[in-house]
């Protein structure tokens, strides 16, 4: 891995910590656009049978073991950002390798 790429990935970690871990704690607790719409027109209750997400360590954007509060939110924000980056670097690597294999 080049220094260039290492610096970029480090930037991703910083973004995850600052935006996902810290800034998100100060997010507005108001309903978001779709939730507000559903309240306004009276469509807040699900009417169909959905598919349950697997039970895991996070309850919405909080780490369950930490309850609510700053650290529960920060853990979720950082973990989520890093999970997304991990998935994409893995996928990107696969696609890059495939390109290298098909090039003459």
């Amino acid at each position: 891995m080049t220094t260039y790429n290492r610096a970029t990935i480090l930037a991703g970690i910083v973004v995850g910590v600052v935006v996902g871990g810290i800034l998100s704690y100060f997010a507005s607790a108001n309903p978001d656009g779709l939730e507000k719409f559903q309240q306004d027109v009276g469509a807040e209750r699900p009417v169909h049978k959905g598919i349950e997400a697997p039970p895991i360590a996070f309850k919405e954007y909080n780490l369950k073991w930490l309850g609510g509060g700053f650290w529960a939110n920060a853990a979720a924000g950082v973990a989520g950002s890093l999970a997304v980056m991990g998935v994409l670097l893995g996928l990107g690597r696969l696609m890059h390798r495939r390109r290298a294999a098909t090039d003459p």
């Binding site: 719409f37 699900p46 959905g50 919405e60 954007y61 997304v84």
Partner: protein, 223 residues
């Protein structure tokens, strides 16, 4: 704007899963031609940024909040196919790990927050990859941000309507009016934030944003 679990009827979510699945497959087929080794870290970092930024709800109007969609931004920086892959990955993580967006609604959410805004972003992209992006790039990005959010909001409303999830006394036009009025203001923020972030990323990592092989040359080589 994530549609939660239990709001879409099986025919609607099934159709949207098929549509978004096809778009994702097409994006995966198109993507390798655009991947160079600098684009991969940019994909990862921008994915992390959009995930994190979606957690930061800002207040708009009275008693409402909005957050960045990000598909439009990704479309500009990465081109539509890679942007669709990044948004798909974010939505899967949000749905499976954080219960944000119903699992069965993944296709619908990928369409409204991924595919459509990513395509609008991809259309605006070439204004920014020119040597000196001018005022035109600013204007089209601001307007494009609004258009991309309204397109998603309109799609979500239609899907809820077709699923029978809106009360009988609500007309479709009325519902679209309420939903799109709220999202007009979210779109304004989307446009402004996108201009700022695109300018920042171009300032620090321009070579990762610009295609290593310009479009015209790539076409010639393929012919």
């Amino acid at each position: 704007m994530h549609i939660g679990s239990g709001f879409l009827s099986p025919p609607v979510w099934g159709t949207m899963a098929a549509v978004s699945g096809a778009a994702l497959a097409a994006s995966l087929a198109l993507a390798p031609k655009r991947l160079d080794e600098r684009r991969v870290p940019l994909m990862g970092v921008m994915g992390a940024f959009v995930f994190a930024a979606q957690m930061v709800n800002f207040p708009i109007l009275a008693g409402t909040s909005g957050h960045l969609g990000g598909g439009f931004l990704l479309g500009i920086l990465l081109g539509s196919p890679l942007a669709i892959i990044v948004m798909g990955s974010i939505l899967v993580v949000q749905s499976l790990l954080f219960q944000d967006g119903g699992v069965e609604a993944l296709g619908a959410n990928a369409f409204a927050m991924g595919i459509m805004p990513c395509l609008v972003g991809g259309a605006v992209r070439r204004l920014w990859t020119r040597p000196r992006p001018g005022g035109l790039a600013f204007v089209f990005t601001f307007v494009g941000g609004i258009v991309s959010v309204l397109a998603g909001a309109t799609a979500v409303t239609l899907l809820l309507w077709w699923s029978g999830s809106l009360p009988a006394q609500v007309t479709l036009i009325g519902a679209l009016g309420v939903m799109d009025f709220i999202h007009l203001w979210i779109g304004v923020i989307e446009g402004l934030v996108t201009v700022a972030v695109v300018r920042f990323v171009l300032a620090v990592r321009r070579d990762a944003v610009i295609d290593a092989v310009p479009r015209a040359e790539a076409k010639k080589a393929a012919a």
